[in-house]
Symmetry: C2
Subunit: 141 residues, 2 copies
DNA sequence: TCATACCCGACTATTCTTGTCAACATTAGC
DNA sequence: GCTAATGTTGACAAGAATAGTCGGGTATGA
């Protein structure tokens, strides 16, 4: 179980935009300095735009900027937008794939895990990241 | 971010073994009745054996059984054994892939998420699953 | 010794990931 | 209006991962 680079890059990009909020639209070239291929990043920002997390200004001097305040955007929003909704098990989305009653006892586990992880992701906002220390990290590595 | 079938099938199989604990070794054929191809399941049970979660008896009347009590085996153990350790981001395992200081602020997020999810997975045992209702599910779907 | 069962490694088809590329649409500024 | 800067879109492709499949072992109870 791991995140693909889409979610990771998406968070990088959104964090970059959060850091530059208020400075006008940031062109793709600038955002790509976080270390992501431009052509690939473009796709991800497209998804983030369609999800309503960033707005764009086309043409010269255009670029990308956050569509909302940093505290109104969560890590979960970003991962949803870039990776698609996380589904621990397709049992949860596809009804009918649990063809045996015995197996369905495990379904409740997926349900519980899925809900818990979603809550977790929704509990961290870009603002929290800007402020650091805000989301429960206490132990030193 | 999703689990592969390995983790899912692994949990099915382990839950099956938990349900039949005390009835002697369960042959692969029986376990496969949960709806997993025998040849594939064999690989997964091999991983579970190497992880010390099941023991096997070879030869006629042989089969697989839990290596420990159901309360001593967690969903996290099973997923680790079948899917390999979950790594949200390779930033956490591979040092040096965070090549920019700016990006590394997001690293703490992965760290936090990773720890939280691991704790979550470790908090559910097979015994909890046998007893149902035991691992925090309260809301009706 | 034979049937039952686990053990192991190689092989493969399909899908997903991670980009790359080319053509197009929009707009600011001269 | 022209041009350069910029976002938009969809097609394409190499490589890796997933989800099995297969063929031959080895151990053991009857």
């Amino acid at each position: 179980m791991k995140l693909s680079t889409k979610g990771k890059y998406g968070l990088y990009a959104m964090f970059y935009l959060a850091q530059h909020a208020g400075n006008g639209p940031q062109p793709l070239k600038s955002v790509a300095e976080i270390g992501v291929p431009e052509d690939y990043l473009e796709q991800l920002l497209g998804n983030l735009r369609r999800a309503g997390l960033v707005t764009t200004v086309r043409g010269a001097q255009g670029g990308y900027q956050l569509a909302k305040e940093p505290q109104a955007i969560t890590v979960g929003d970003i991962i949803d937008a870039t990776e698609g909704p996380l589904s621990i098990s397709e049992c949860l989305s596809d009804e009918g794939s649990c063809h045996r009653a015995g197996q369905c006892k495990t379904r409740r586990v997926w349900e519980y895990l899925s809900n818990s992880i979603n809550d977790l992701l929704q509990s961290i906002s870009l603002q929290d990241m800007l402020e650091q220390e805000q989301f429960g990290i206490t132990k030193e590595s």
